[in-house]
Subunit: 360 residues, 4 copies
């Protein structure tokens, strides 16, 4: 059972609410003697951190992560690694006017119905703030992967569509991704996205996004059929991220318009290596990594907190109106990018360890 | 750890290869004293069974399921329920010519690389034959759900697109679904699909499909954030089905083209009940069922086994050609429909039981 | 969740009732390409089989085990291995007179209260017949251990006490164990035990036993603190065997009469190897194997089915008397020996695999 | 997988080392809306706290526990509950002289061999300090049990033997247990134990103990055969406590000297209720609670840290001598009492929840 845990051999458990005293994460099953670089972990958290540009929320959290256990003299000890971030910017008065109303598109209503209580202070547990801890766990798992993959596995991810403006994915400039506030792999689109976001912010609205993830040098053979397939586990992982509503691998939904003659990736030998002629499968066959680049995309719905007024109901079952005046991301999909990378790293690290346990 | 198991409190484990002596499934955690109707389970298996129409494979398996344990005097005992289907039609000679070649689009290559062995007799464990047992487990879990949901929860599912021919999903005729060989909820498209499939079969090719699932009367509050969300678990379940390459909930990938003002489902009170004005979320908010209809879609790639010749490599790393002459589904997506229903039933039954364990 | 499953990375799930059509077991997570010797597995089952001597029950089950999946050309494939034993000797009329009575010392009453049903035909799921499948799973896991331990790990186990007649454990003749019907490691006691058992059988009574298990060459470092310690996992495993009521490691309960100066095992270097001066800890420190011989003991209560009449109650809550006239073991502890070995093998194989997943 | 987690539906995960910055625990799966009384939890921690009397270690830890998440307005929210205790008294210089030596009886050697590192500062993760968090988790689970058991379930536990001085367990004075520094249920023995302990402390030695646990009003039907039996789960739980080397239920190891005519607990109806004539089974039949008092005992070996000099080896494989001059418990078994209670509460709460999930 794993309500708030993710993973199998390698597992993390997150805890904490957006407006509580702290949030945290315990990573269990992490092997001993892996160098743990806290600065690197912090740098990954910084990419997810709010307040970085005018295109994300102005909520100001420094998100300084501390390690409380499991690391001794710079290396993992084999014991659980406990991360903590103390919450600083808890301006909860922003939320007081909506205390009794279910914000449409948020989890207020379902949490209220499920738990018979609801932490109105910014969503409590359902807040995207929880994802900060995933970034820490993911960065940690990346250190493990780095140590055992040769050539080194590498995940890159970028936003490929905001609103109705999409990039051509064959123009994927990996180096540009971290040089713009949208994690765009394509320079040409940046100006359009700026306009789009500023217009929507002005109108009190928000935008959705599609994100692509690419994994280079994932070892062959990762994934445990039938129910721990690599794509199953990644889907579970990515769908657990706030506001994600769909995921597809390789050619994905467009596969329906190809026929069987053209949709499977043919192979041949070139220079003693197997080469695939295409990558419709997204690097996964039968739930197992094939050694090709792993490619998948997911969609993040527009931020539900908008300034424009919406119909809703109160906890007392009265009709009401609500508008959200707090500081929110005009396109929450942007900040999902480092979270998706983290979850992908973690899934692969876990499956890699499982895979190694079977080697005899 | 659950390589070949699915579920948490309610769990099934499948075993068996497509050309072995039998396939089977053990369902553990099923409550006692639930009436178990073997005829109903068999009827569900019959909908997945091959050889039903000229639009599916002509492989002839009667797929008669037996229960070997866990049921006494027509009721569950609380002990594990063991299903078995003895394989009959094992015409393995069909496969002998491809014994040393990796069929493109299949799991031959990755299984070979992972396990250093490969059961060439029809895919062995990676064959869709395994899904027969999911249908049995799903039908069983449906009996549990029926007993505890009022009004009774009901899942319907149909094919909404084959190749480039899609139906309008607002023309969803539930009653028609089981009256045509495509599980189409729409009469108008049937002739087009017949033509499409017969043409592709003739050309030695195959087609992909998109399937929609709708769940009425799912109780509110199902799903355990943050890592056992209803949509996470469903995604994991559906993505584990052979040839599925993507899943989306509610408005799904199209949400990217809506803005935040229009994409969240507003609510109001009508006749003392909460009514949502739309269903972009697909009935799930924050990973928890909202009481709205749950709606999701998934894509099944075109059958990889086609008559036309393809480039591939042999186990000895030589270039080669392969064509599959066995009996195969021209559109394997059709037979995925009952499997998707089964997995959906199972996921919900499991989460329902978890949810009940928390009631005090 | 694992009601009827045992293990973690390596897991088995048993199913079936003593008087149903068959019993079975699915082993999941077993690595590929391990030679699987069905004859060896059968030979282990034969040591547990009833009807072997006049000192065990005369119920005659051949217990022929079949493998239905997961083995191809004599080797494991990496897919689940399904074992089945069809029940033959189902003389259920023996039980008809007790259909409505709770047999004292048996699980009749608690199963009835828990499941609101009870399979009166020989205990159903609570019957020790289920342990046959553990022996199969244990023998399988032994093949895995054999392949990876050097020098080869070896488990021996014998009965060291029946009734009030105990052997001196320093007179442990490993070779004698399989040459007598009691699994006694000591020849001198055999005659006493024969007399004891025959006397008790004649009187319609039965006897308890204490069993010792010794594991040589268990690799150092097995066990995952804090909650998957080797001794925790072994205790869970052994306590799940029918009629076991206690377990102790090394000097066990007698440690209370030693003081701290004498109870911890001192160490020194001899010929470049660490040598312990004693083995009070039973080869486990902090839940991790130390490389010393692992030693533990468990107690099996006297068979509850006896001929002498006992007070009990009926399902209708009336006072009644019951005597069991079926064929039963006068000392069920004897037949627990191979089950204890099997569980020990399985626990160690599972923890060994976990341990290997952490090696970098 | 659960190296540092315990439980199933209700689960806790502990983290932290004895000389790190803090220790903590995350409880997941705890139902919503249960009143959480932090003062009660603290009071339970105080019973385990060192420095309470001259019969326990003088290490002075206030062990003030804080809750960082999962509780809002005095009630559980359904989200993970995070406990933390900041370490205060980290006098690690006590340990500096033994930095390179394996202390006999401790986990130093096996941790070193397993993890290739060892936290010499007081045992790190293997220190009994970890058990403080179990007491917090156990006290929390007790609040859940209190809410749903009628009559209220109650666990009492006391030391029944120290060294060779044992009490008569039929002289069990529940009220006296918390009025003496030994958790003795019997006044007569207190003076003997005082002498024993002071003598051993003076001699630089230490003592073992046997502890008995009694559970009144445990609901009938708790435990999930075959591999989540109540006694299996309790054994796993108790054996995970530092220094425990054996456990037995009911009459336990002494059952070997009874015969089958006398060892099973007969039943009869008195005043419309089932009454057992004895309790050899310790309240558990077939792994399921019978409604009788649950009784078990476990042995705690003498504290391994003693003043007297012992032979050992260094990390560099040299022969050496070691004596432990820190502040240690002369009889660590005493402080195990609240830990055993906590684990018992937790196991039962978890199984209770599982049991409720099956009710239809």
């Amino acid at each position: 059972m794993s309500h708030n845990s993710f993973g199998n051999l390698l597992k993390f458990t997150t805890w904490g609410e957006s407006h509580g005293e702290a949030i945290g994460c315990v990573v269990d099953g992490f092997p001993a003697n892996i160098p743990v670089d806290l600065k690197y972990i912090q740098s990954k958290l910084n990419t997810r951190r709010p307040g970085q540009s005018k295109f994300t929320t102005q909520r100001n959290e420094k998100d300084i992560v501390k390690i409380l256990s499991g690391v001794f003299n710079g290396k993992s000890t084999g014991s659980p690694i406990s991360f903590i971030i103390y919450n600083e910017d808890q301006r909860s008065k922003d939320y007081s006017n909506i205390q009794n109303k279910f914000r449409p598109g948020h989890a207020d209503y379902t949490y209220h119905m499920k738990y018979k209580n609801f932490d109105y202070r910014g969503g409590g547990r359902s807040s995207a703030r929880e994802t900060a801890m995933r970034v820490a766990a993911g960065a940690l798992s990346e250190m493990l992967i780095s140590k055992i993959t040769k050539p080194k596995m590498k995940i890159t991810s970028g936003v490929i569509q905001i609103g109705n403006e999409k990039i051509k994915t064959d123009k994927w400039n990996e180096n540009f991704i971290n040089k713009n506030p949208f994690f765009s792999p394509n320079k040409g689109i940046v100006e359009k996205w700026e306009d789009l976001i500023l217009t929507h912010r002005k109108n009190g609205s928000s935008l959705g996004a599609i994100i692509e993830v690419r994994v280079k040098n994932c070892p062959i053979g990762i994934g445990e059929p039938i129910y721990q397939k690599l794509d199953s586990e990644l889907s579970k992982a990515i769908m657990s991220i706030n506001a994600v509503k769909g995921i597809e691998f390789g050619t994905g939904f467009n596969l329906v318009e190809l026929d069987g003659t053209n949709s499977s990736d043919q192979m041949s030998i070139k220079k003693n290596k197997i080469k695939f002629h295409s990558n419709h499968a997204g690097g996964i066959l039968g739930g197992i990594s094939s050694g090709q680049e792993i490619i998948f995309r997911y969609v993040v719905k527009p931020t539900s907190s908008v300034l424009s007024e919406k119909s809703t109901v109160t906890k007392n079952m009265k009709n009401s109106k609500v508008r959200t005046v707090g500081r929110h991301d005009p396109c929450v999909g942007i900040r999902a990018v480092p979270v998706g990378i983290a979850m992908t790293n973690f899934v692969i690290a876990d499956l890699l360890m499982i895979s190694r346990s079977k080697l005899f």
